[in-house]
Amino acid sequence: MSQEFQAFDFRCKFGSKHFPYPIFTASGCASSGKELSQFFPLSEIGAVVTKSIAVKPRSGRATPRMAETPSGMLNSIGLQGPGIDQFLEDDIPWLMSNNARVIVSISGETVEEYASLARRLRTVQGLSGIEVNISCPNVENRGLVFSCDSVASRAVVESVRRNIGGELPIIVKLSPDVTDIVAIAREVVSAGADGLALINTLLGMAIDIDAMRPKLAGKTGGLSGPAIRPVAVRAVYQVHAAIPNTPILGMGGITSGRDALEFILAGASGVSIGTANFGNPTAPIKVKEELEQLLKERGFSSMSDAIGKAHDR
């Protein structure tokens, strides 16, 4: 019996679904997987979390949409996308034929839109989960950021749960731009969420001092990258302490295995790679390999044994 090729136990679980690896793409940072598949086989990660899809096609916001900041970047894409019809026609079959596990991220402007997206996805075979993005900062009206309000968050999650049925896991993506993220987390879990994606970008701004106006056409944008990692680790730690049985997909500035391990020790069951893909399209594989090494060095025989370890010490 050969021990040499025994794979490290990387399995993780969200709701009813098991994933072979705890590495995912972050919504909006991998499009629908096609481009990244030139750099690694998509089956080598837990799942592709697709760019949040809306009911109708969206042009997104005007340019400039991006500004690099110290150890981070601001974006105001504004959920550009083809709409659910074309997405189901083109992207989902492509992902399935490339053996990718798929978590579809959805975004609506009203509770009814989320419900309608959930109804469309209910009949799609082979999905691994739904990410309910209630925290995109790049909407025209900040009042629409559902995750800043626990009543609105509950309404969205209840309607998705009702329309998607009982099987498919729902992972709800929250904003760190709130006074008490634990309160929002408890609310969406009691409304039917199987897991939480923590965190979305933080609202930020950069100003061009020559033109003397905001760098982004949309004025404000979402801050991502290593600059926000401590905020994300804190959010994961706080939420895991409060509701330890709810799996967390941790994200925010992860570029290496050590970054990923921080999130797992804080309580994440899996991690998503976002902005790092822009600088290094093979980042998810690099993170996976480094993470395996670090876990082995610390004597773990499975990833799941390390979840939340930072709380015991």
Binding site: E35, Q38, P57, S59, G60, P64, E68, Q80, N280, P281
Partner: protein
């Protein structure tokens, strides 16, 4: 700068670009910098090489130009669309602005090999910003230089000399690269003279591989529908006629999915 790039060089076509990580392993600059390929050669002492023209203006390009010979960089490429080459030996006019003219020299060589007539116009604000290496001049039939302050060549802008050049040389296709304002002005001239116009657009990019959706601009698709289109994988080379020019900071009316 010359990079030993192995087989990447063999796949590079005029108009393609590369994306390079900058600042070293602990850099606070997390995004790659995109550079148009000046020349690519798939054989030589160091195997395939890719040459770039780097103007040390920003932090990233300053870091790159501070590297020593034999230092290594992380480069992804070749990326993006390339300039379409006519199958017939037509008369081509190449228009470059500032340092953006770099990819035109490799293009000129390819066009020459196809038997095309190649005329080139390079423009900038001042003489010091004209990029026209000696070896590049050999592959063109004529070179016209314009500067806004008159410090080199003809005083004025590239568009001041384009109409007479198009008429004199019976130009059938214009290739351009440089600032967006210049590309727009070239497109207006091209429309009036009913020439084809392929331009390499410049939009700030985060990823360069099509996943971030930051480098978009409004472009008509084959059905005439205006879509926010990625300049990294659907560009940088685009048909000038299809681009909706001057639409920075606003989504043009009628764009697919506009709010």
């Amino acid at each position: 700068m010359v990079f030993a790039a192995g087989e990447m060089a063999a796949f590079a076509r005029p108009g393609n670009f590369v994306a390079i990580s900058v600042g070293g392993p602990n850099s606070s600059m997390i995004l790659r910098r995109a550079f148009a390929i000046y020349r690519a050669s798939d054989r030589g002492q160091y195997g395939g090489t890719i040459e770039l023209v780097v103007a040390p203006h920003g932090q990233g390009s300053k870091w790159l130009t501070s590297l020593d010979i034999h230092d290594r960089v992380n480069m992804v490429g070749p990326l993006g669309t390339h300039f379409g080459i006519p199958t017939e030996p037509v008369s081509a006019l190449l228009v470059g602005g500032g340092y953006g003219s770099a990819p035109l020299f490799g293009l000129a060589e390819v066009l020459k090999e196809r038997g095309c007539r190649v005329d080139m116009v390079l423009g900038a604000s001042v003489a010091g910003k004209i990029y026209a290496p000696l070896e590049g001049k050999r592959s063109v039939n004529s070179l016209t230089v314009t500067t806004e302050d008159g410090s080199a060549g003809i005083k004025g802008r590239v568009t001041d000399v384009l109409p007479s050049l198009i008429e004199k040389n019976q130009s059938e296709i214009i290739y351009s690269c440089g600032p967006m304002g210049m590309l727009q002005a070239v497109e207006e001239v091209s429309q009036r003279h009913q020439t084809m116009h392929l331009c390499a657009v410049e939009e700030s990019m985060a990823c360069g591989i099509g996943i971030c959706m930051t480098c978009v601009l409004p472009v008509k698709d084959e059905k005439g529908i205006i879509k926010m289109t990625r300049s990294c994988i659907d560009g940088p080379v685009m048909d000038g006629e299809r681009v909706i020019w001057g639409s920075s900071r606003a989504i043009p009316e009628g764009t697919w999915g506009a709010p």
